[in-house]
């Protein structure tokens, strides 16, 4: 007698970790990440465009000069 013959159907057993997420869920996730990172990209881009000036802090040297 097969002990699983009359076992109820378990829907969880139809999911495995190898299944890819549907595209409909992936795209919004990617867009959210890009929007969140946009201010940082913009700041770096503007810093590259700035002519002259220094965005660096005071950095004392340690060169031997005598």
């Amino acid at each position: 007698m097969n002990p699983t013959a009359n076992a109820p159907h378990d829907p969880e057993r139809t999911h495995t970790f190898d299944n890819p997420r549907p595209l409909g869920e992936f795209v919004p996730c990617l867009l959210s990440a890009l929007v969140a990172a946009m201010p940082y990209f913009l700041e770096a881009f503007l810093a590259c465009l700035s002519d002259g000036g220094s965005t660096e802090d005071y950095q004392p040297g340690s060169r031997k000069r005598c």
Partner: protein, 299 residues
């Protein structure tokens, strides 16, 4: 409407024998202190029409001159004249490119340029940092031109010969090849300079400079008008601070550019630029800060 000329400056303008003049108390003057050169008498002097009717106190004085010293008089064993590795502490000997004199790299300072960028470098005088040649770049060397460049002149206050001056100051950018050559420290002064403060009569001060090193003194006058001798000309200054040494001279040739600091509080009060062995003249820091757009704290 033109502002009224400063009566003290007019007193100097009318009488070449007067080297400096100040009120005993600028807020409530009761007398005018007149530093008179040579054997001139007060009753021979011309008084400006807008001078207040106050009694005078006459003090015999020597001419006041800027305080650089000729090249060749330096001592390697003197802490303030010796070469330093980075980061360089200030209050140390400075020689400009093409300049045959020494002065003092007085203080570490920071400023904002016209584009809004922040810089760090050395505060000294115009007459210390400018070389003889009309070069497009005034390199500054510590302690002599035989040693590497420590800063490049960035901004200075021109001296007028036909109008009273407030400041003889200059700043040099100490960022060389990506790193700053200077420390936020002044030789023999324990802590870095703090927030600036205006001098007042009776205030005890100190300074660290190339020739006399660390000296102590007292502010004896504020708001003074002074006649200062440069190499090739004479200029009038007004609203200057005057100091005298506590024991011995507060300054000597070579000390030009030193920062005068309120003792025990490390508060910058004036920039030393002239003297006569008894009196030392400093530009008030408020004038220096305004002229050069300095910012505090340093870092």
């Amino acid at each position: 409407m033109h502002p009224q000329p400063n009566p003290l400056t007019e007193l100097l303008r009318l009488n070449p024998a007067i080297v400096a003049a100040a009120y005993d108390d600028p807020h409530n003057p009761t007398k005018v202190i007149v530093h008179l050169q040579g054997a001139h008498q007060l009753n021979n002097l011309k008084m400006p029409t807008n001078a207040p009717d106050l009694p005078h106190r006459i003090i015999q004085a020597a001419p006041i001159r800027t305080l650089t010293c000729p090249v060749g008089t330096w001592t390697m064993t003197n802490l303030h004249q010796a070469c330093q590795h980075e980061p360089i502490q200030l209050g140390t000997q400075l020689q400009p490119e093409h300049g045959n004199w020494y002065g003092t790299a007085g203080a570490p300072v920071s400023w904002i340029d016209a584009q809004g960028a922040r810089h760090w470098g050395i505060l000294s005088n115009w007459h210390v940092m400018h070389g003889d040649y009309l070069d497009h770049r005034y390199d500054q060397h510590q302690p002599t031109v035989q040693h590497p460049v420590c800063a490049v002149l960035s901004k200075s206050t021109p001296i007028h010969q036909d109008a009273p001056n407030l400041v003889d100051a200059a700043i040099a950018d100490a960022r060389i090849d990506g790193y700053h050559t200077i420390a936020n420290r002044i030789l023999e002064i324990a802590t870095p300079p703090g927030k600036p403060l205006s001098a007042s009569v009776g205030m005890t001060v100190c300074k660290s400079g190339r020739t006399t090193g660390l000296t102590h003194g007292t502010c004896v006058e504020v708001g003074a008008s002074v006649r200062v001798g440069y190499d090739d000309f004479t200029a009038l200054f007004e609203d200057q601070d005057v100091f005298q040494g506590t024991s011995g001279s507060f300054s000597a040739p070579g000390d030009s550019g030193s920062l005068i600091i309120r003792y025990e509080r490390n508060q910058p009060t004036a920039l030393l630029f002239a003297g006569n062995g008894v009196l030392t003249i400093g530009c008030p820091m408020r004038h220096v800060i305004e002229a050069l757009n300095l910012v505090f704290p340093f870092n």
